[in-house]
Amino acid sequence: MNDSTGNDSTAISVDAGHPAVRFEDVTKRYGGVVAVDAIGFDIAPGTLVTLLGPSGCGKTTTLRLIAGLEQASGGRILIDGTDVTALSAAERDVSMVFQSYALFPHMDVMENVSYGLKAMGLKKAEVEARAAEKLSLVGLSGYEKRQPSELSGGQQQRVAVARAIVLEPKVLLFDEPLSNLDAKLRRRVRDEIRGLQQDLALTVVYVTHDQEEALAVSDRIIVMRSARVAQDGTPRELYNAPASRFVADFMGDANLLEATVGKHHGEVAEVRVGPLSLDLPHRRIVPGAAALAVRPHAVRLAAASDGKGAIEGRVTKAAYLGDHMEYTVTTVSPEAELFATDADVNRPHAVGAEVAVRLDPESVVLVAND
């Protein structure tokens, strides 16, 4: 974020001290379906916040509630400190980049980008200057007279972004902006969006169901599950300290093992996983049954001869991926299918081999059962 207090225009909204977006117990019902269930969060100005969650959890609905394309059934929505709950989309200072880009097919690139400025009633000269500026910002100078149908997918996407930021909205919304692009372009466009957001200190709310994308671009991530917020935090917090099994499962390919938490001793507790016993931060999880989230690289495999005090397992799949190995290991106690990666590619474990499984205490985290 830009922490200089210079004449940067967006600093005004930062100074005001309001969150750029605030949800207070917002609910959205479609008939009997509750798409968003009394959720609340704050989004700080100048940050990129991602809404992440499985399909149907209410991400798009939340985004549309911010935009004013849906009217909340309950609760309050504030933008920059002003209650906008009853305002229509046109009256909110929010722009949106649509999944399908939604470029107006009967207008050329320039007309598309200047649409919002014209709707605001600005003078023609100013409209054109501003639109041209934003077009060059997204690298599309020279394409002004093209029709949307004459552009590639990535270019259409950039026109959509230019059209949205030309109004310098208080909040910019993206609904799965990369889903129509191929894998390589995704990475690039993702980085461009992030770069633009940081350069202009935009407040962005970004919807995706791809956790890697979320980790890569976000200042903060709001994980949603069945119409509610499951966890709200920085990427690091979510990865290292998932609030629930669900979050741990959703963020990265964590293995979840049944574990038993023993007595707390200060910050740590003794945790038993099958025959293993580890001293781990208890994170205020009460003694009793819980789950252990184990990242694939935290699974240490050794030859079975070395197995004292370790979990016994058997390799059921092994794949060579150049710089690392990927294994699937079946264990009996605790009963699990572990997904493991190993940097040692020179002495692989064969499929069918009995192995001793240990866990790196640095890369495992205790989570409460849901």
């Binding site: 225009s9 005004i12 798009t60 549309r64 935009a67 004013g68 394309l69 849906e70 009217q71 002003t82 906008v84 009853a86 305002l87 229509s88 989309a89 046109a90 009256e91 909110r92 200072d93 929010v94 722009s95 949106m96 649509f98 999944q99 399908s100 880009y101 939604a102 470029l103 107006f104 097919p105 009967h106 649409y115 919002g116 400025l117 709707a119 605001m120 029709q147 949307p148 149908s149 997918g153 259409q156 959509a160 059209r163 949205a164 109004l167 310098e168 919304l173 609904d175 129509n180």
Partner: protein, 735 residues
């Protein structure tokens, strides 16, 4: 960099509310409240301001019941000054309610309700119909109501949407629902206007409607049975023919585009009675075929065509194209890949047709049947021309009003019976068969080659369709040449006599003028149809927009009311307009306005369908993008939707124009000497046996409309569809 001007202003729409308030005050203080003799736009009322005065003057001079209307105005103005919308709905609602109450309670002849007269014991005060002042006042009050509703978050707080919704609903209530209610209320009253339930049930259950004498060897069955009988016959024949034609057009080598094109245009441009007329010329007592048979084969002349046979034949010829269109849509919806799948499973062609295709098109068949059934019952002109002594409901309604009997009560009762029949068929068609079968006309199938028809079926289809096609060709040939010979069938020497009588142009003292007898009605029809055209398109497309893009409580009911006018027979519309708009509060009979209004609301469903089909192809995210860019819904409609809806606009305009030109059943009640219409004129000529002029006129109309259709199609062409590829694939947001 400058920040954009803030988009959040005060949420009170001061300018909007202020403007409507101003208009309401004008309607109350300046513009004449009542109808002005000689027309508002003659501005004669300015000279005679005191007696043609605005509500406030009238109120002070003996019509005190107008004075309360100032209270809502004052209240709304007070709210405006305090920058509040909450409460405007109460003011507006009270104003409209009071207008309805005083308008219905006090009419030109005294109390509007007989119980009021009994209560008061006097004839009561009188007032004429509402004029422009009342219209302005009511419209403004409606819009103030909308401002309040929008302020409460209706339709996402969008004033334009709420306002349009209220306007469309109000017009539907006034011009669709209110006339229907008037029918009911005059059905239960006797001719002097008193409540007479006994008379009503006597009329409703009278033998002339329900008798089944003909089954027991008597001469006549009730008119309801007659109507149903013909309608069922027509439904069955039209569906069978339509299916045969659709199968030929889509599933045989003769995939003739011209057949499709021709068949889809014919029913639109043909005035409905023309076919009946042609049948008389062919099979009437002096018809061509009859002559031939009697001269060469000695078969005696008879009047068999005048009655069930003639009506059924004419209607089958007229409505088969409609059944055909429905079934083409249905057949196109049957994905060839399903049939291919069946064939790869080793099913024979016949088996594939029987087990895959047939079940898939069965709902479509029912739909085609019901549509032809409705059309047959609603048809007025063919039974009038060719029905002879065989009466059906629609003609009986007409004769009950214009005939010597002049029994409005009986007309109303007959109208109710007819309406119940058609509405029931309409409801069944919608509920039971669903919407898919008639919306998909012109829908796209996926790849793959449709299975060819089994041989037997193919021959059957040819066998059924060929006679119909032949007869159709003969009918149109007769229409086109019949008016240019002396007496077709008897004296086939060419003549321009009829054409000149109808369409001559002469040079007189003041220059050229249209001296032919048909010109006045033709120009009048063109004028009124042209005036109705943009309004029909506008209100129909607006309704389609509201239906497709907005969610609001009562949407289904709204859609039903809007589409219902499809199922209201023209005769019922005609009689209901006479019953409701002949007297205050809304007095319009004898004007061109009422004809235009009947055009608009009769043809509105066509525009709605064109709009819905078009809107279905425009991704919702386009309007949402526009909204989030700060354009309100009106700007969005104008700058994004309208340009993309060009095809629907053109379709709606053409169809509403052409249908207005060919309409007869409703307007035959509404046309007057001054506002005479082409179709009414033709029916009149045919009625007195002047077939020459009638046919020449019909031919001119058909050619004229063909030219217009083709011309517009060439002019607009596929151009409007040129660059119609939205940004990317359709997006599943809020599907």
């Amino acid at each position: 960099m400058t920040r954009p001007t803030p988009r959040l202003e005060s949420t009170f729409p001061a300018r909007n509310v202020g403007a409507w308030l101003l208009l309401a005050w004008a309607g109350f203080l300046i513009v004449p409240w009542y109808i002005v003799e000689g027309g508002f736009f003659s501005f004669g009322w300015l000279a005679d301001f005191a007696s043609h005065g605005p509500a406030v003057l009238q109120g002070l001079q003996g019509v005190p019941w107008l004075l309360p209307l100032i209270l809502p105005l004052l209240a709304a103005t007070w709210l405006w000054a305090r920058r509040r919308t909450a409460g405007l709905a109460v003011a507006g609602g009270l104003a409209l309610a009071w207008m309805a109450v005083e308008g219905l309670a006090i009419i030109h002849s005294g109390w509007g309700f007989s119980w009021l007269a009994e209560l008061a014991g006097t004839k009561g005060p009188v007032q004429p119909g509402m004029g422009w002042g009342a219209v302005l006042y009511a419209l403004s009050m409606l819009m103030l109501l909308a401002a309040d509703f929008a302020g409460r978050g209706w339709c996402k707080g969008d004033r334009f949407v709420v306002g349009s919704l209220l306007i469309v609903i109000a017009t539907l209530v006034i011009f669709v629902a209110y006339p229907l209610i008037s029918i009911l209320s005059s059905a239960v009253r006797d001719n002097s206007g008193d409540f007479a339930p006994a008379l009503f049930s006597e009329k409703l259950f009278s033998g002339s409607i329900w008798s089944v004498d003909c089954l027991a060897g008597g001469r006549n069955c009730g008119v309801a049975w007659n109507t149903l009988f013909v309608a069922v016959l027509v439904g069955l024949f039209s569906t069978a023919l339509g299916l045969a034609l659709a199968l030929i057009a889509l599933r045989t080598q003769i995939r003739a585009k011209w057949l499709l094109r021709g068949l889809s245009i014919l029913p639109i441009i043909t005035p409905p009675f023309v076919i009946g007329l042609a049948l008389i010329l062919l099979f009437g007592r002096a018809g061509i075929v009859t002559n031939f048979l009697s001269v060469h084969l000695g078969i005696p002349r008879s009047r068999w065509i005048y009655g069930v046979a003639g009506i059924t034949m004419a209607q089958v010829l007229a409505f088969t194209p409609i059944a055909f269109l429905v079934l083409v849509g249905v057949l196109q919806g049957v994905s060839p890949s399903m049939e291919e799948a069946s064939q790869t499973l080793r099913a024979s062609r016949w088996r594939t047709f029987r087990t895959v295709t047939w079940p898939l098109i069965r709902p479509g068949l029912a739909s085609a049947f019901l549509i032809a059934f409705i059309e047959s019952m609603a048809d007025f002109a063919n039974p009038l021309v060719i029905g002879g002594n065989f009466n059906v409901l629609s003609t009986d309604i007409f004769f009950a009003v214009v005939g010597a009997a002049h029994d409005q009560g009986r007309a109303a009762v007959l109208a109710i019976v007819l309406l119940v029949f058609t509405l029931a068929a309409f409801l069944i068609q919608r509920q039971w068969i669903g919407k898919r079968s008639y919306v998909t006309v012109g829908g796209k199938g996926d790849g793959g080659v449709p299975a060819p028809l089994p041989r037997g079926l193919r021959l059957g289809a040819y066998g059924i369709a060929a006679p119909w096609l032949l007869l159709t060709i003969v009918v149109y040939a007769i229409i086109l040449v019949g008016g240019f010979v002396h007496q077709i069938g008897r004296d086939n020497t060419p003549t321009l006599e009829y054409f000149l009588t109808a369409f001559s142009i002469e040079k007189g003292v003041g220059g050229w003028f249209l001296s032919g007898s048909a010109w006045p009605s033709l120009t009048m029809t063109l004028t009124l149809a042209l005036i109705a055209m943009p309004f029909t398109a506008a209100i129909g497309l607006l309704t389609a927009y509201l239906l497709d893009r907005q969610r609001f409580a009562g949407r289904t009911l709204f859609e039903f009311l809007a589409m219902m006018s499809f199922a209201i027979p023209g005769t019922v519309v005609g009689i209901s307009y006479i019953l409701s708009f002949n007297v205050p509060p809304i007095q319009m009979t004898g004007t061109g306005l009422i004809i235009v209004i009947s055009f608009v609301f009769r043809n509105m469903p066509v525009a709605i369908r064109a709009g819905l089909a078009n809107l279905g192809q425009i991704d919702r995210s386009l309007d949402e993008a526009s909204l989030t860019l700060g354009a309100r819904s009106f700007a969005t409609l104008r700058r994004v939707m309208l340009p993309l809806m060009k095809p629907a606009i053109v379709t709606a305009m053409i169809y509403s124009f052409v249908r207005a030109m060919t309409a007869v059943s409703a307007v035959i009640f509404l046309a007057t000497g001054r506002f005479n219409l082409a179709t009414v004129y033709i029916v009149g000529r045919a009625d007195v046996g002047e077939y020459g002029i009638a046919i020449v006129y019909a031919a001119v109309m058909i050619v004229l409309m063909m030219v217009i259709l083709v011309g517009i199609q060439l002019l607009v062409g596929e151009r409007s569809l040129g660059r119609r590829r939205a940004g990317a694939e359709a997006m599943p947001i809020a599907a």
